[in-house]
Each structure stands twice: as C-alpha cells, then as structure tokens.
C-alpha cells in the first residue's frame, strides 16, 4: 500500500510537471478557425516592414494588408491612383502633384494628409534619424537628385494644401507615379509609426483593411485583425474587410503548405514555380482553386561585376550558357514556369524577343565548358560559384539545381548558408554576394527594373562601376521613356551577361474552394487588383464559407 502511494505520488508529480510546463505555453493562434478567421500560409518569415526593410513577396502580401501605397497596379497591369485621388505631372515630367483621397484614416486615428506623405517620403529618403539609411532611400535619392537635409527636402517636396503634395524633381521622371507603387514596397505609415524605432517590427499603423494584432515577437506568426474603419467598400457598397482576423503563418516546406490546404487546415497559401510538384498535385484536387499570375516575371541572376569571379566576362558567359533553362522550367518548376531567354514578357520594354520569335541568350553546355576553361586560362583559377539562398525550401531547391548545372559545366558551386530574404536582398545591394537571383523585370512597366539598372547604387550587377556607359544608357531611357532606348540598353545587359535570365513565372496563390472574394474588391479608380501579382493579392473581400 505504501509503495502504491509513493508510486502514485510520483505519477501525480510527473503529470503536474507536464501540466505546469504546458500551461506556460504561450497562447497563440494555431489551427485555422473557420468563418471570419482566415489562415494564410507563406514561406518567408517576418523580417520587418518599415521603410528601411526589404521583405520578399510573401511578407509584402502581409504588409500590404496593413499599409497601402499611393498608387497601385490594376488587373490590366496599369498603375492607377490608390490612396492618391489623382496624380498629375507637368509636360517635362519634372513637377508632380499628388492629390490624396479625403477621409482616409490610419489605424491609430491619424488622418492621411499631405504632411503624412511628406513624413513617409522623408523616411524613404533616409532623413528620419530613427530609420537608418536604406534601400528605398537610395532609390528615392536618385529621383530627387540627392537630398541630405530637411531644408533641401522642403525645396523639392511641399504640401500645397492639406491633401495636395507637390514634388519638384531636378530631372524628368516619366514613371515617378509608378515609384510610389514599386510592387507594394513604399507604403504609407502614420506619422506616429515613423517616430518609433519599432516601426514595422512590432508596430505599424497603416490605412489597410487589417491592423496589426501581434507581430514580430513570434517571427513565424503574424496576426492581423479587421480595421473596422477601412476606407474601401465592396462592389455592393458594403463595409470591408469581410474577415475578422487574418493569420499569416510561416511554413517553409511547400509540401506541408500543400498538405495543410488539402486537409482544410489552412485557407490560402502562396507558392512559387519552384514548388512545381506540389502545384501539379493540387491541380488534381477539386477542393482547391489555383490562381496563377500572368507569366511575366523573369527571375534573372544579377552578377556582381565588381569582384571575382564575375568581374570576368568569361565567368559570366560560362554561367549563362550553363543554365539549362528548359530543365529549370520542366524539372524544378514542373511546367509551372517558362524558360526565359529574354527579360520579361514580350511586351516589356527590356524584352528583345521581337514578339517571342527570337532568343536573347541560349543554353549550351559545350560553350559553358569552353568559357569555364577560358576563365581558368584568364585567371589561373577554377570558376568557383557561391549561390546565396533564403530560408525557403524553394530557394534551396532551385539554387541547388543551378549549382548542379554549373558543376556539369566544370565549375565549382556551393550554396551559402540560408538567410532571410531581407538579408539576402540587402547583402546583394551591398555587393557582398557573387550573384543575386531576383525578379525585377516584371509586368508591363520598366519602372521597377529601372531601379536596378541605372545610376542608383541599386544595380545589382555593379555595372555602374564597370560600365558607366550602360548606366548612362538606362538613365537616358528612363528620362525619355523610349522603348527603343530601353532595348538598346538591354542588348548590352545580354551581351555582357550582366543579368542572366533563367525562367519566367507568374506566382501562384492556392485557396480552398470555401474561400470566396479573393481579388474581388474594386479599386477606387476602377477595375481590380490582379489576383496574383508581385505585390500579393487583395483579400479585403475574402471570406470563408465553412
């Protein structure tokens, strides 16, 4: 009896210990709650949303649910006013006037005014002392011809009235309005948000359909709740958003994102073309709907030409010829992407395919081997490539495929340790990587790609330093907007293998059939946002019916 009692006490103690630790577990959202609560799975973890941060596509989707841009891309690929009511320009594209919509409020109660836009622009320019120099700052500095003080800033950007801002640019910028979209990056935060260093990390008041409930402490889960004061209405004039909460959960393995969707444990998930096998399996599932973006986004390697090995043209050409683009599209993407022999879709100003009839580059293993040998003859060294990857399984998989292709050509290749998308992007801009595999040529407009191809410090190939003539070419193209000029410059990009196209895709969003309203919210300027695009998807009207 005594033994039994003692044994029982141990058992009770063990159960109590388990219960104690279990009760300490942080209460966090777990499985998808149905109805008004939406669970969206993404592959990229949170690494900041403020002006200085450079999240990848998955985090931009989440960020754009909270904070919005002055202009936006509609389903036809055209940039239209969004938080702005009108965007006007002078004939020489040097003076721009943005008139804001009235009665839009941030989540913290502040009204959207010209002063708020100026505060955001100052942050974007790196003039906010709380927010260090950043990627957007470089781009915006280029637009404004260098602004280093608030006095200079005041001369170039003024509030004409409560809702009107005017910008005086030193040089023509025909696509200045598109810079306020930049695939969802330069969002407008409340003034108070910009006055805290926690901006975009754990806090952030935007004008979007959802506001932050918890973010940043758990890097893998972002919880948003409905903004009951949201300014947009649905097609019937009813209040938005329809969902009460949205949870973004990071699941890095695409197979598990597919499993969770298939089981109904999640409502929506994003996928890249590198998740080809999972996408093809989900097509057979009648309970899922796959939204595919238009295949107009080209993933290209941007070569760092300022340092070995890609300061050598032989190395760059070896790399370009070694890429088996058909294999990338078929084996890695399983048909969910097209091999890219030029940049972007045939209608993009950087595209030289003449309507898809001409290849700008080719894949050729024999030639790749020749150039690997030429590199060795030139430098006395074997071509050794280090490919950076982010933390998603797709990134590792696609880069490993490229590594294998380079090895076939006789080059050495290894993957760098995985880092966040933000770290990878910024490290690329700082020219601390041999290459960066990015998707800057997309859609219809050259505006976003222009940030990377002219004299901005953002050009990832570093050709500003090694080929100033090409940077000047792109500068002229930008200032004139002439497609012929863009194509003249793009021909040099190909010829020198500064940027190397790999495959073109459109991105994928997969939702359960019970999810309705995806991408259905009308834009105030008419039309809708594309369901899948580089700035994510519009889920202000989304609801789950089970």
């Amino acid at each position: 009896m005594k033994h039994l009692f003692r044994g029982g006490r141990r058992k009770v103690a063990a159960v109590m210990a388990v219960a104690l630790v279990a009760s300490l577990s942080h209460v966090a959202p777990a499985a998808a709650a149905r109805g008004d609560d939406i669970l969206i799975l993404i592959g990229e973890k949170d690494s900041g949303w403020c002006a200085q941060d450079s999240p990848g596509l998955d985090q931009i989707i989440a960020k754009n649910a909270v904070a919005e841009t002055l202009t936006i891309m509609n389903e036809k690929g055209k940039i239209v006013p969004y938080l702005a009511k009108t965007v006007e320009n002078s004939a020489d594209y040097k003076t721009w006037k943005i008139t804001l919509r009235e009665g839009i409020y941030f989540h913290d109660g502040e009204e959207l005014t010209a002063a708020t836009v100026l505060a955001n622009l100052a942050a974007n320019l790196g003039l906010n002392p709380l927010i260090p120099g950043s990627l957007p700052a470089i781009a915006w500095q280029d637009n404004f011809g260098g602004v280093t003080s608030l006095a200079q800033f005041a001369a170039k950007a003024q509030a004409v009235s409560k809702y009107v801002v005017q910008f005086n640019l030193p040089a023509p910028r025909p696509l200045f309005n598109e810079g306020w979209f930049a695939n969802g990056r330069p969002v407008i935060w409340s003034t108070k948000t910009l006055q805290t260093k926690a901006c975009g990390t754990t806090v952030g008041a935007g004008t979007g359909p959802f506001k932050i409930k918890s973010k940043g402490v758990d890097q893998f889960t972002t919880l948003l709740e409905a903004n009951t004061n949201y300014w947009r209405k649905d097609a019937d004039g009813k209040r938005l958003p329809k969902a009460a909460t949205v949870t973004f959960k990071v699941v890095q393995d695409p197979a598990q994102r597919r499993n969770a969707l298939t089981k109904g444990q999640a409502d929506i998930s994003t996928f890249g073309a590198a998740a080809g096998p999972q996408l093809n399996e989900m097509r057979k599932n009648k309970d899922l709907v796959i939204f595919a973006g238009e295949r107009s986004t080209t993933w290209s390697f941007h070569m760092n030409t300022t340092a070995p090995p890609f300061n050598s043209k032989n190395a760059r050409l070896a790399f370009s010829y070694a890429i088996d683009r058909e294999a990338l599209a078929k084996v890695v993407a399983k048909g969910n992407a097209d091999p890219a022999y030029c940049f972007g879709a045939s209608y993009h100003p950087y595209n030289l395919s003449q309507g898809g009839t001409k290849k700008c580059v080719t894949s050729n293993l024999a030639k790749a081997k020749e150039y690997v040998a030429a590199y060795k003859a030139e430098t006395g060294k074997t071509l050794e490539v280090l490919l950076p990857i982010n933390e998603t399984a797709e990134s590792a998989k696609a880069n490993q495929a490229v590594c294998n292709m380079l090895k076939k050509a006789g080059a050495g290749c290894a993957l760098m340790p995985p880092v966040t998308s933000t770290a990878l992007i910024l490290r690329g801009f700082a020219l601390r990587q041999q290459v960066s595999w990015f998707n800057v040529v997309a859609g219809y407009s050259p505006a976003f790609a222009d940030l990377f191809s002219r004299k901005t410090n953002l050009e990832l190939s570093g050709f500003r330093f090694t080929n100033p003539g090409l940077a000047a070419c792109f500068q002229t193209a930008l200032e004139t907007g002439a497609v012929a000029k863009y194509r003249e410059c793009a021909a040099v990009l190909h010829g020198e293998a500064y940027w190397i196209p790999t495959y073109t895709e459109g991105g994928f969003v997969v939702a359960r059939k019970a999810v309705t309203g995806l991408g259905e919210t009308p834009l105030p300027a008419g039309g809708k946002r594309p369901v899948v695009s580089l700035s994510g998807f519009d889920f202000a009207s989304v609801k789950v019916s089970d």
């Binding site: 942080h26 950043s134 260093k197």
Partner: protein
C-alpha cells in the same frame, strides 16, 4: 560530505557553462559575414558604429563576454535587432517565452514516449538474446534508427495527416487552449523524433541487460525461485540502465535546440527554429544566450542523471559502483 559533493558538482557545472559560453563568444566571431552588413548594410558610419557598440563588437572578446554575462545574470537575454538597430528590436526573452516552453514540452513528451517504449522492448530483447526474434527486431530497429527524422515526419504528415485525415499537419496548440488538440498537434512530431530514440535506447538497454543477466546475483535470485519478470524488473533493470540514462540526458539537451527540422516541417516555431534564425541573421547576443540555455539544459539533465544513478543503482548509492 554530501555538501562537499554538491559544491564540487556545482563548481564543475559552472566551469562547463563558462567554457561553453566563452567558446561561443569566440566562435560567433568566426561566422562568415559581418553582422553589421547583414543587419544594417546601408546605415551611416555613425549608425554602424552604434550598432557595433550595441553588439559588443567594439571591444575584445573577453570584455564582450563579461558584458553579456552580466546582462544574462540580470535576466537580460539581449535584443533581437531589427534594421533600426537598438530600440527597434525585440527582447530575446519575449521570443523565448513563446519558443522555449514548446520545445521543453516536445523534449519531455519525446523522452517519455521513447523511454516507455524502449525500456520494455530492450528488456524483452535481452531476455530473448540471440534468438530469431531478437535478431529480427534488432535489425528492424537498426534500420529504423538510420531513417532521418524529417523523412519520417514528411511521410507521416502525408499518410496520417492527409491520406487518413487523422491529425493536423501543421501548427501547435497550447495545452491551455485545448488539451486534446494540444496532444493531437504533437503526435506526429513526437513520433518523428521518438522512432530513432526508441531504437537507440532499446539497443543500449539490451546490451547492458545482457551483461547484467550474467551477474551472480541474477543466478542467485533465479535459484531462490523468483519469477523471471520479477528478476528482470526488480533486479536487472536498475543496474542495467546507467548507459540508457546517460544517453537519455544527452538526448534531452540535444532535443531542445536540435529538433529544428521537425519544428520547421510541422510549423511548431520552437527553440530550434529560433536558434537557426538567430544564426542566419547573425543575432550575436541571441545566439549567445540561446546556446547558454542549451548548455544549462545539458548540465541540469546530467546532474539529474547523476542523482538518478544513486537512486536506481544501489552499488552507486553505497559507493561501491
């Protein structure tokens, strides 16, 4: 005497902790890439210098170490830096409050499940040593222990989660929210982590038990007419379990930070993922604090095992072991 032993053990533990954490202070500096480049690549020189000072990179490694240690002893685990530098980051302690209990629970459940299955299996295999049953099961266990746990995890998720629709494939449900969903959410991760451990533990116990069965006291017990099961459970198991306990203690420490792949597959967001993320983003202070916690866990579990040796094995308790 006992007091002296306790003091000696504590001193040993403190020395180990110092050596581990100080080594980490040195090793993190060998991680490729400047953390400032990763955290704030476009910062001004002043901003970079400020962050360098905050991270303790402006002083030598000894000064850096003692500054960190002093903070740690005051309960400050450091800050997870955002791109705005100090003031914009998240206290590591807040992040630990989410991640650590999950990982502790996973570790605890995994060890309980593994031991509950491995102990009877190991005893049984020793009892049936060198029979066809023993050889067959031992070979199966050997095969199972060579399968990586992520492969088991993915396989389980697809078959049990998707095909059979029995368990959730991702996510963690806190016990306080729903005990039943809590256990459901952890079944597949636990099985993935336990399968290899069951194989390892049972094989270790089998070997030690076979050796114990050859001891004179077992022959004596048998000649007294005691039943086989009584002899196995009361007289053989205790002296045979020292290797098992040592291995279990090491595995417990390893599971806290080392279940990163399983945590990632099942989206559990535990300590392992936090540590992997800290390394990826060169969060020096967080790496240092998280590794210190793992070291403490190893030390604590090994101290517990030292105590258990004495409880379980009378020879150790009597100083005869």
């Amino acid at each position: 005497m006992r007091f002296q032993v306790a003091i000696r053990n504590l001193a040993k533990a403190a020395l180990v902790l110092f050596l581990v954490t100080f080594s980490i202070s040195i090793l993190v500096r060998f991680l490729p890439g400047d953390p400032i480049e990763i955290l704030m690549p476009f910062a001004t020189e002043e901003g970079r210098a400020a962050l360098r000072a905050e991270l303790g990179l402006d002083v030598n490694v000894v000064q850096y170490y003692f500054r960190w240690l002093s903070d740690l002893l005051r309960g400050d685990f450091g800050v997870w830096y955002a791109s705005t530098g100090d003031g914009g980051g998240v206290p590591v302690r807040s992040m630990l409050a989410i991640a650590l209990p999950r990982s502790l629970l996973i570790m605890l459940y995994t060890m309980v499940v593994s031991l509950v299955l491995a102990v009877p299996l190991g005893i049984f295999l020793a009892y049936r040593a060198e029979t066809r049953t023993d050889r067959t099961i031992s070979n199966v266990l050997f095969t199972i222990s060579s399968i990586p746990n992520f492969a088991i995890g993915l396989g389980l998720a697809f078959v049990v989660g998707v095909q059979l629709d029995l368990l959730p494939v991702i996510g963690y449900v806190p016990f306080a929210e729903s005990p039943s969903e809590h256990f459901k959410s952890l079944v597949m991760p636990l099985v993935s982590l336990s399968v290899g451990l069951v194989a390892t533990f049972s094989r270790l116990l089998r070997v030690d038990t076979i050796a114990t069965l050859r001891e004179d006291f077992v022959t004596m017990a048998s000649s007294k007419g005691l039943s086989n099961s009584w002899i196995l459970w009361r007289h053989v198991l205790r002296p045979s379990s020292s290797t098992l306990m040592t291995s279990a203690a090491l595995q417990m420490g390893a599971l806290i930070g080392g279940a990163v792949v399983i945590e990632s597959i099942f989206a559990l967001n535990g300590f392992g993922m936090l540590l992997a993320s800290a390394i990826a983003t060169r969060q020096y202070l967080a790496i240092q604090s998280l590794v210190a916690l793992i070291a403490i866990a190893y030390i604590v579990f090994n101290l517990i095992v030292d105590v258990l040796y004495a409880i379980v094995d009378p020879r150790v308790r009597g100083g005869r072991g």
